[in-house]
Symmetry: C2
Subunit: 288 residues, 2 copies
Amino acid sequence: MDPHLLRTYVAVARLASFSAAARELGYTQSAVSQHIAVLEQDLGTPLLSRRPVVPTRAGERLLEHAGPLLLRLDAARAEIAALAGAADEGLTLAAASTALTPRTLAALPPTGATLRVLPRADVPEAVATGAAHLGLVDGLAAPNDPLRLADVAPLTTRGAGQEPVRVLLPAGHPLARRTGLRLGDLADARWVDAPGAGLPLHHLRAAHGTGGFRPALRYEGTDVRTLTALAAAGHGLVLLPESAAAAPGTVAVPLTEPRVVHRTELVHAGALRGPAAAWAARLDVTRS
Amino acid sequence: MDPHLLRTYVAVARLASFSAAARELGYTQSAVSQHIAVLEQDLGTPLLSRRPVVPTRAGERLLEHAGPLLLRLDAARAEIAALAGAADEGLTLAAASTALTPRTLAALPPTGATLRVLPRADVPEAVATGAAHLGLVDGLAAPNDPLRLADVAPLTTRGAGQEPVRVLLPAGHPLARRTGLRLGDLADARWVDAPGAGLPLHHLRAAHGTGGFRPALRYEGTDVRTLTALAAAGHGLVLLPESAAAAPGTVAVPLTEPRVVHRTELVHAGALRGPAAAWAARLDVTRS
DNA sequence: CACCCTCCATAAGCAACGCTGATGCACGTG
DNA sequence: CACGTGCATCAGCGTTGCTTATGGAGGGTG
């Protein structure tokens, strides 16, 4: 199971083609074929059914492991490269769009920084692999509880603020005149699932216990304005932090039950040094 | 960074010797030397300082990654092997000693099972690598909150019971006559750190916020009786689940603040099949 | 202080691995 | 039915990675 073999395997599985994977990886088709054969022989079971090329059950399991594994390898390499001196110039912040609250935006340094908005799930990955020096992730949590991040690699987190959450409703919605809403009453409503921009619905299910919150529409961009527009157009409800929950044609009603907050956390790998440390200090708010 | 190189690297770092690692791995000393040289060349930085053999800073970072990486690799292989048929006969349960409460013990099947007590931190590893079919881990948590396990590999957990915790004091201790204790008042007391048997002190620090709970003695076994004897002998306080907190010469005082419980969880990898599923069903208690 | 012993680095040789290019074979397609 | 596409297999060859042998640096001992 050496990493090269795993890399080819995921490429083949993703592209559903040996030859396409070969082209992408710069190998010959023959080499790819041999890679897969070696892997299958090593594991003692077929990983792909050919024609069409589809992972077997065992192959699916391997895929679940291979991604994090390769990610972790890159993370290790990146961390050591950073430590070995590679005088890192610019300063890059990877952030989920709703993690960019007025608070965090205000703390941005005036010059020399790159801000990269990514789907929420990609932020820890970017930080781990060194693609970004710092990350801002957000999510739903009980007040003062830390977020639960899938730890692909050892990342350090520190709170960077929290605020109430609101439900965004189209202006004419029957519930729009309420002063507060309970999540339990909304389990069967129409929701927009926006893992890239708003809060993914599985966070709601986790906060509420279980069940419900079936998406009426799934939005895969990272743009919050589009998301609020979708809410205004009646495509479904959207949960947003207070500071982001204002848009024409919508009403933002506070969530009263359960008591959850929108929490944003700063995430980084290893020790903070140089400009990243200064930045982190400005973003960090133990007192919030 | 192929796994073989990482494996040799961790062996060398652990044994602090190239030649000892070579013996352990069945290589010649020369091969080990070359492995390390290749790794260092690949990463562009020394990983070990020789004579004595000690990891450099970069080497320490690599160690942090290498362990989980190799573990995950084994986990992937184990999962696929299990799926590939290898008709798994016996049924093995890996458990932390204090996870074996009367409840969980009562659910053990009458015959044909192996019970293996391990240090708490090794239980998820045993399950992930297929060394055990099921695991029982325990820890401190807010009531009805799940435990936070370091996820080395995708493991599924389900609650298997929770109960109050008590502080074990030697019979003559000044606090022994109290009916309840607050954790905050005990931050500066003498504690026994028993990551294998009782609850590790870092759990207490996490539950209490930060600071304090310095170990007066560290106990590395997995035997609870020895641990209670240490408490009785006045070597330090010990935190235990109610059901385990009874021993001659000691007094077990309930912990009233913060509101934490001793929670035990059943952990398994992938889907439960056959006898493991039956066992899990008996251990599982959603209602507790 | 000199000797030796341990331990890691390096060199040379050889077998095995892993890649390429060519060919074979099966399935789907026009 | 013939052809084309796509994966498997084979032969050849360069490279890798192991072993044995040797060199050099430290540390301990008489």
